[in-house]
Amino acid sequence: MNGSARKKALLAFAALVLLGVLPFVVGTYSIMLITEIMIMGIFALSFNLLFGYTGLLSFGHAAFFGVSGYVTAFLLIHDFPSLLLALLLGTLAAALAAIVVGYFSVRLDEIYFAILTLGFGMMFYTLVHQWRSVTGGSDGLTGLVLPSLGIGKLSIDVSSPKSFYFIVAVFFIITILVLLRIVRSSFGLILMSIRENKERAAFTGINIRAYRLASFVISGFFAGVAGGLFAVFDRMASPSMLHWTASAEPVLMTVLGGAHVFFGPVIGAILFFFIEHVITKFTDIWMIFLGAILIPLVIFFPDGVLGTLMTRRKKMREARREGEE
């Protein structure tokens, strides 16, 4: 194992320990805040497979987040016996929606892709808004009944913030491991080559639409994981989960943290909630600050906070190496 790999392993280990210890150190409010950050982190990571790695800016990703949230909530309202199965069905519904939306959307590029996904997202929004008998209309679905989580003989009561924290943490870690593996695979390299140069990729024998669709569906799937967890976390599903302004949130987080670094969206999610948390102590009007942070970030640090830090470090290391030679 070389130095950098050992450093990375140590860092991962430290992060795991931190995740495990935190809920025993901080209060309930913080536990819930971190839970929400992890859920939104999953959402932002899923979005970035499409944006950062495939080069497609989706402005309708809340559709998959919301579809999963609604399916999960719908099942749990109707006394569905298994939490995990409800989450799974919600996530599969999101993936199914992503297959349909993706099938059409991946034909387009850039702004047109962004607008079309936005349009599809809003179609889902109007659907849950209007289909009162199933979705509860603008009130959404409330009053989720959480069955206890049975794993083997072990039964966990998920309604306590601490145990739900750990469930979300497990999903968070699984999402990271799976997506990390995907972006570093042969498939991931092909996605990146499509991002870099669609035309060259096509003339190399790559079926652009098929790969984009695969990326879109995987991305929708994990957005679904986040959406289901969010509905459980909030004990409700509401139309605002699918509104285009909700689609903007993973975009903001990703840009805050950095789209070309794997963990950028997670850092972005932490910053996003940190900014919200600090500012809402003084005033409800916090988006103005988010905007005021976003604008200089886009102008001066297009790689995001984590991305910029990483390039700085790399440059310093290179400079040091050159100095030694």
Partner: protein, 286 residues
Amino acid sequence: MSLFFMNFLNGISLGMLLFLISIGLTIIFGVLGVLNFAHGSLYMLGAYFCFQIVSLSHNFWGALILAPVVVALVGGVIESMLLRPVYGRDVSFQLLLTFGVLLVLDDAVRLIWGSGYHIVDPPPLLNGVVHLGGFTYPVYSLFILFLGPFIGLGLWAFFRFTLWGKKIRASSMDREMAAGIGINVNHLFTGVFMFGTWLAGVGGALAAPLRAIGPSMGEKIIIESFIVVVIGGLGSFPGAFLGAMILGLINAYGAQYLPKATMALPYILLAIILLTKPRGLLSKET
């Protein structure tokens, strides 16, 4: 029958407003290559400025002249200070930057005027209703209806016959060529952005007596005007007109015939057009 006719008028007058907003959006895209996410917020700003001026001076006509000018100044600041550094980068950066501007403007409005709704009365001249066959119709809506074509014609003449109009059209066709024949691109971009935001401001000020003024009015209209410019063809002048009329009529008749689906109709239309004519109805590319 009279309901049908009334909805026709409603659709056209809504279309005229959408046209004013979309035309600015499409001109900015055509020349600068930027899809301005903050355009709806600038429209909203026009409405708020109008409200503010009217409540201070009780002069609607003065507000109608002044409010858009102030909006255009805000636009000038946005273009020259914020947008200029990100030209030439990926389009998503420009979209995100203007999205940041949207967040700032929307909350700034909340900070200054609060989260509640405000109302502006139409000027006395245009207050009241007229009887048209079987129904009554607000005079102010008719005013918008008739004003729209005049503004459209005025813009057409501006682009057709004035030097600035020709410069703008030339640059929207070929930016490099424009620089080559000695057009100061920086000035042109600022000018075009201000012009586009001025139009948004005019739309906002005109809409002020028509709609409740609230902090979410930009959020709604920006999506509608995105749809207008995309179905018409991004950067296309007649496209914006066609798109605005279609969307206005869809909204009006949808409410009459398909009340449940009316919210979804614009999005369905958007998807169908993007998938069959990806560059919009009035584009020559296939």
